[in-house]
Subunit: 153 residues, 2 copies
DNA sequence: CTGTTAGTTCTGCAAATACAGAACTAAAAA
DNA sequence: TTTTTAGTTCTGTATTTGCAGAACTAACAG
């Protein structure tokens, strides 16, 4: 597949977006490439060529993406190459994980509340409020997907 | 205020948590200190002493936190020191921002769908599904807070 | 057995990060 | 006016990051 300027520019922006989420630059670019690539599956070599980076960098980035469960590869009979693709299948799972990750702050809030004295009742009250909300939020996640399903039909 | 080992250890863990979110180490530690500190407000000097870091590092970190709107300082009559505190007041706003930030991926998903051919209908379909969900999700955020309010009462 | 393909692991380095320490600034105190 | 206080900005540096390139490995091909 030949990438147009538009493709390349979009890949870069998707890369930067993922960099901001803490991923290393190339990892974000690879996600971008796998997203815009027509065939869905992209060979190791093609990633190297399209992004103009070294094999070692691609190898490490793909190992990372696979470890994170964001990417898989398949093979074809009579072809030793690996074809990589994103696991868009379980976006619900991924999204849930991200939401739960945000809510992880609750664990700390609760620990903080345990060590705090009652010198600052308003502060403590707000924190407890926030903790209660996070509790509520986590429980609401499944319901969220259900409401979406209903609304779809 | 004298910090116990428990306090210090909790500050470190809160620091690491924020590092994973892309903040620089000291910024995370300062958030931790402001969270566990009894008085709620902590002077510049005390931050320097409690965390054992340089004034310059603290100055930069606090400038960053204030720019991000996560921290404010107040002053006291006849006292030139600045007392820093977290802005826990608007956790709803902060949380909303974080959720919207997650949903920002939708912008890219939609752009990706525009440049993709229909060679991979299933992939495209899943992406469209995800985009629709993100749409739904963003609209649901205010309702989420409302349901929490109701449940509280 | 030798060569080739496809990818991995190791080594090194250029650039970015995160901080220390010193010099500096602005305002209040003496 | 000089000094002190409280914090900022500048300069240098140790550490970490992100990648390139080379050496290596495993499997198949000739």
């Amino acid at each position: 597949m030949v990438l147009t300027e538009k493709h390349k520019e979009l890949i870069e922006r998707i890369g930067v977006f993922h960099e901001h989420k803490g991923m290393q630059p190339l990892v974000g670019r690879i996600i971008g490439l796998l997203l815009v690539h027509d065939e869905g599956e992209v060979s190791f070599d093609e990633i190297v060529e399209q992004l103009g980076v070294s094999k070692s960098a691609v190898s490490n980035a793909l190992t990372f993406l696979q470890a994170k469960g964001r990417c898989v590869y398949s093979t074809r009979p009579g072809d030793r190459k690996r074809y990589f693709a994103l696991k868009v299948s379980d976006w619900k799972e991924d999204f849930t994980k991200e939401l739960e990750n945000i809510a992880e702050i609750q664990k700390f809030i609760d620990e903080v509340l345990e060590v705090r004295t009652d010198k600052t009742p308003e502060f403590n009250c707000r924190m407890r409020d926030f903790s209660n909300f996070l509790d509520f939020f986590k429980k609401e996640i499944p319901a969220l997907f259900e409401r979406f399903k209903k609304q779809q039909a």
